[in-house]
């Protein structure tokens, strides 16, 4: 039972109000999921500081006190979302304001062959089966209560399906924008990539305000079919005061290739749980992450890679550039089941501390039950290489610029891993702007 009963009963009461407002919607299969979720939330509660999984992130700001669910979407203009849209990508675009689909700002017609995009509030023919077969299928048993919180209050979301054997060249963009309304918003994404398909999905979380009092509890579920190649990018550009607890859950079938990129660029507290399960043989799975907290920001990437079947490989690289009094946390669990022989797993976490008050926690966690595996991990934390700094300065590059060059190179490794050029350039700009701010936040100048 949750330590904070008031919070949970607050959410239970809010749920009753939500349900009453749904009218006929309360009988839909989606609502059945919501009911399961609120029941689960009431049973298990939200995390407390005693949870091992929340050792380095105090859940209280996110989990104690009920954030009233935001029920109506605030206004959003094309102008306001422009900085968050990758203009170089002229493909499908789904825009959500405070968790609710905004058709007028989205681009969901004239789609490339083989891809369907829908919003959960207006599912198309054929998507009903996909929703009932997949939505919350991966996250109902998720470790922490935020996935249940999202499901309980989910009103809308993005559903992306890619037909078997189809290649979608342009990334599908999903934009979750908070208009600054205080309370809980629940962005939701479901991607189902059928066997042999290829697709890329980009989710951006953004805010038109500083986001004080905004809690975003997001869930994305991705089903990667046999032999499918899927790239998923999450860009966190929340308001500077925003709170976010996100869950990304992935299931991969044999011969799949899946890559996730997580860019934690802005937000007061950002917690991201990533869990991918490699269920078939010969899967190649990659998790990339870049976190750039500053000021009093707190970022926690809590990742789990589960090797269930033999002959798969996984690679994980998370980097942080940490300024001010910010705190960057990484947990990387690699769970190799007994049957997952000949697993090849590599994990690396690297941090640059840009100020004396910046803090990191890095924890690899290898649980290996098979005997024939190659598993390795490494973690480094430090300052910029003084020899490299001197080398640049000896060529006329000023100290501040030299710091910028080296920091950008460090972060650039993750930007360079993005496949689509337009997306890569977009993220490079965002990262560069953010790095300037992180670099400026050195505490005591040295």
């Amino acid at each position: 039972m949750a330590a904070d009963n008031d919070t949970i009963s607050g959410y239970a009461a809010a749920f009753e109000g939500f349900e009453a407002a749904l009218n006929g919607g309360a009988r839909s299969p989606l609502h059945a999921r919501r009911r399961e979720a609120i029941a689960r939330l009431q049973e298990h509660g939200l995390p407390t500081a005693r949870f091992e999984a929340w050792r380095h992130t105090n859940p209280a700001p996110l989990a104690s006190g009920c954030f009233a669910p935001v029920m109506t979407a605030g206004k959003l203009s094309a102008e306001a979302i422009r900085p968050f849209v990758v203009s170089a990508i002229d493909g499908p675009l789904l825009v959500f304001a405070d968790g609710q689909f905004v058709p007028g700002l989205s681009r969901v017609s004239d789609l490339p062959d083989g891809v369907q995009v829908h919003s959960l509030s207006a599912p198309g023919s054929g998507t009903a089966a996909i929703i009932s077969g997949n939505l919350a299928a991966l996250t109902l048993g998720a470790e922490h209560g935020f996935a249940a919180l999202n499901t309980a209050f989910v009103r809308d979301g993005a559903i992306v399906t890619i037909n078997a054997g189809c290649t979608v060249d342009l990334p599908v963009q999903i934009l979750h924008v908070s208009t600054g309304q205080a309370g809980l918003t629940t962005p939701r994404t479901l991607v189902v990539a059928a066997a042999g398909s290829r697709a890329s999905v980009v989710e951006t979380f953004a805010s038109t305000t500083s986001g004080a009092g905004v809690l975003t509890s997001s869930v994305a579920e991705i089903v990667v079919g046999a032999g499918a190649v899927v790239e998923h990018t999450r860009i966190h550009l929340h308001g500077a005061e925003s709170l976010h607890a996100g869950t990304l859950h992935v299931t991969e079938a044999q011969d799949a290739r899946f890559t996730a990129h997580t860019f934690c660029l802005a937000g007061r507290i950002l917690r991201e749980d990533v869990h991918t399960v490699l269920r078939g043989e010969h899967i190649e799975s990659t998790l990339n992450g870049l976190s750039l907290p500053l000021g009093d920001d707190h970022v926690d990437n809590y990742t789990t890679i589960e090797h269930v079947a033999p002959d798969c490989s996984s690679h994980e690289l998370y980097k942080g550039v940490v300024g001010g009094r910010a705190h960057n946390v990484f947990r990387g669990k690699i769970h190799v089941h007994q049957a997952a022989q000949r697993t090849d797993a590599y994990q690396s976490n690297q941090n640059l501390l840009m100020s004396d008050d910046a803090e990191i926690n890095s924890k690899p966690q290898l649980e290996i039950y098979a005997d024939d595996v190659k598993c390795s991990h490494g973690s480094t934390t430090g300052q910029l290489d003084p020899d490299a700094l001197f080398y640049l300065r000896a060529r006329g590059v000023g100290l501040q610029q030299a710091r910028g060059v080296l920091t950008r190179a460090f972060a650039g490794e993750l930007v360079d891993r993005l496949q689509h050029e337009g997306l890569r350039n977009h993220v490079e700009r965002l990262v560069s702007t953010r790095l300037d701010a992180v670099l400026a936040d050195q505490g005591e100048a040295r």
Binding site: R393, A394, R395, G396, V397, G398, A409
Partner: protein, 260 residues
Amino acid sequence: MLKITNLHATVEGTEILKGINLEVAPGEIHAIMGPNGSGKSTLAQVLAGHDAFTVTEGTVRYENEDLLDMAPEDRARKGVFLAFQYPVEIPGVNSAYFLRTGLNEVRKARGEEEIDAYDFLALIRAKMALVEMDESFLKRSVNEGFSGGEKKRHEVLQMAVLEPRLAILDETDSGLDIDALRVVANGVNQLHTPQNSAIVVTHYQRLLEYIVPDYVHVLMGGRIVRSGGKELALQLEDRGYDWIREETAAAAATTQPAGA
């Protein structure tokens, strides 16, 4: 151009340079030789402004300014160039970007316009031809995975691009095959004008057949213990350093009988 007077420097509390005196006039080439650990690289790094070394005594004037008072980048912008004995690897920063960034800083300091990508390419192609380096290096991370000789050529390339007034080459010839040696020497000689000077640290008289020095100095125990013309290098090649060590000790004994 450069005047070093009674320069003392320490690293982590140990004195390495113990009173260096050296004057370099415009257009001159000075060679510095000396046994391992005698302080040659320390001198070079102190001149370039490495903060691992603390200057405890003495002065360095460069073009009538206090060199020691300048940040490393300002020294570079004013035309001081150090070719590193051990060039540093910079993962993720490609050579073209590195070269162009440095060049633009130096150009700005000279009051010139920044060079655009197009003109830079033309310039860099010419310079790469001079040091016989393949253009593919431009896309590679600075020094990462370069062979020893490639790193040294890359140093000479940087020098050719930045066109310094005072080039300090710290064992740029070490580990080079005979062709590369010629290339390095070419690079230095191309820059050599009546205004530009060079200090060439080397262990081998071989290099001095290509880069003909006006003076040869022997650095030993943190001091310049002997200076001469280019024939001094030949003598060192023949006889090693022991005779200088002995003569220096004898001289010290006569001038300071109470010492030792």
